[in-house]
């Protein structure tokens, strides 16, 4: 029986718009999504993702003891029992699973050709490369962010985005594109397509599209796309007479097709191999629900675990 620590990279591939709600309203947006304080990049906080994974485990009929061992104890039952809010302090456990923030890998951005492209950035790829470092040696991709020689010029994975003096509309911006495809971007596109989307028949068209339609913009362009290429939805609440009772209020969503990635660490224990198998079955290739507005179909994401199903040596790009 092994007490080994397990490290995975969890990809989230949005099937429907995703609303992981932030703490406060932001400007005209009543219900903004979670963003990093320093960069403004969209994120799903580790605590929110861990809650979603815990819910998936409950819905997957895991034994209560296993849920508690992996995800930790429920919050103290304040108000339900004897009123002593601190009574659980000595017996509650933190859980074996550490869930990192799900950071943005690539954002679907409207374009004039091919409907949309996945756009990523130097920062996003650098972070993904850093997350790879946590993976076991045998499944660790060895990719580095592409070298940028011209400020403001987007790099493309495929030649259909390239040409002499080529500009492309990316959401609200017109961005110049490099003359030739970048082999590093192409390698990243292949890796992300395989890791995040997979090769099954249902997903193959999108994996093929990602291999061709991945663009890398620099850190001067990406903040604008992060701000302007999310979805804003106005909603109202009707009364029984079908007139507006409250609203409108505006909710922000990460669009469908968004790709995010989070590091998962399962601490070693006598049963860690068993728990690792349970997590793999729960998540790899499965759909879960993350964030709010569950009852109106939001927040459905496909999960894939890197480090879960590949043999040693396959991860090298």
């Amino acid at each position: 029986m092994s007490r080994a620590q397990h490290e995975w990279l969890l990809y989230l591939y949005a099937e429907s718009p995703l609303h992981a709600g932030a703490a406060d309203a932001s400007g005209v947006i009543d219900l903004p999504i979670q963003r990093e304080a320093g960069t403004g990049y969209p994120v799903v906080w580790g605590q929110s993702l861990k809650g979603a994974l815990r819910q998936a485990a409950r819905d997957g009929s895991w034994d209560h003891e296993v849920v508690e061992a992996v995800f930790g104890s429920d919050p103290p039952s304040f108000g339900r029992g004897d009123g002593n809010s601190g009574r659980d302090q000595g017996t509650s456990t933190a859980g074996l699973l550490s869930v990192g923030d799900a950071q943005l890998v690539a954002l679907p951005v409207p374009t004039l050709q091919e409907t949309f492209a996945w756009v990523t950035s130097d920062i996003a790829l650098s972070r993904l490369a850093r997350k790879h470092l946590a993976l076991p040696e045998g499944v660790r991709p060895r990719l580095v962010p592409p070298e940028r020689t011209q400020t403001g010029v987007a790099l493309a994975a495929d030649e259909r985005w390239c040409g002499d003096s080529r500009d492309e509309v990316l959401g609200p911006l017109v961005v110049p594109l490099a003359q030739k495809p970048d082999p590093h971007v192409a390698a990243w596109a292949r890796r992300i397509a395989e890791d995040a989307i997979g090769a099954t028949e249902e997903f193959k068209p999108f994996a093929d599209k990602l291999r061709k339609d991945l663009l890398v913009v620099d850190d001067g362009v990406m903040p604008d796309l992060n701000r302007d290429c999310t979805e804003l939805v106005a909603r109202v609440q009707l009364n029984s007479g079908k007139t507006v009772e409250q609203g409108p209020f505006y909710s922000e969503y990460l669009p469908a097709e968004t790709l995010l990635a989070a590091s998962l660490t399962l601490r070693g224990s006598d049963l860690s191999d068993l728990y690792a198998d349970e997590l793999r079955d729960l998540l790899h290739g499965r759909q879960i629900q993350v964030g709010g507005d569950e009852t109106i179909g939001k927040g459905l994401v496909w999960c894939r675990l890197v480090g879960a199903d590949r043999q040693e040596g396959e991860g090298t790009a």
Binding site: G38, Q47, D74, G86, G95, L97, S98, D101
Partner: protein, 361 residues
Amino acid sequence: MTRSVWLAFTPRDSLFIRDGRAFDAGADNAARAVWPNPSTLAGAVGAALGGEPDEVRGPVLARRSRGGRWTPYFPVPADIVAVPDSGEVARLRPGKAPEGSATDLGDAVPCWLDAAGKAGTGQSWGGWLPGEELRRYLAGELVAPVARAGDVECLRETPVQSEPHVGLARTDEHTARPGFLYQAAHLRMADGWGFLAECVVSDGWDVEPRQSVPFGGRGRLAWVEVAGSVRWPQPPQRTGPHTFPDGRIALYVATPALWHDGWRPPLPDGAKLVAAAVPDAEPVATAKPGRGGARPTDRMLRWAVPAGSVYCLKFADAAAASAWALGDAGRPRVHGTAYGREPADRLRTAGFGVVLTGVWT
């Protein structure tokens, strides 16, 4: 025999480090994270090395270059103040208290600090100095006694932002659990920033840290790496008996200090405390990790002297000051070590009260 190894910790996500004050989901609805304190870092070091080194000294804020070189940053000394509307900064000097004035400190400090006639000073400048600039400060060369603010290489913005997170417990029926909505402010470090810790280990210890370890609460993790070529800012150059002219030593507090006498450090034999610049005390929590993943126990909240505090000490002569600060045949140096507690005290070995020595005029 022992040797020194520096480890660097780079948070993988946002940080959530508590100050030890109680927070119960369901009873309280807001919490905020604090700057990692020495015990936080010592715990991470223990996890990284698989055991406790003889001593840990940190945390030190640091930036990693693309080439992997770490530059330490230290809080601007509290005796450097901004001169309003002048674009200048001044270093406070001990001086006589104004006629007829009194303090509630009694005779603990005989002198007040003023800024050589620069009326209106008194606002701590704040910010962070890279190690080389702090070395110049210790040598009395950085702000002597006034300088243009632009001539001092100072990081004005802390590379950490507060990031409010909301949390909500849910029932098995996918509904919100009443009373379990809360807000917690995490800390988000800018890319490329982390914390350094000097680890004093036995010579025979083969230091191979784990790749990532828990750092603070909420299962947050940090990358770990060995940081080569890092060291504490050097003390003033030893030039015979004149390293500390007239026995004057500015004692700079590099990590939060927990001294037996509150804000006042224990004074070495023959030394007097002339003046002090000590900002507001900061809360520090310590706790023992629970067994088998259980939550921490034996929590303790204390109030610490913050990093950046400065004490002006006066020894009998330069030789006595130098022997105390830099060590001699019979005594270890004080510069770059945790000061004020017994060698085996865990608050010392965890890194509380690391001090650096410089000059004052």
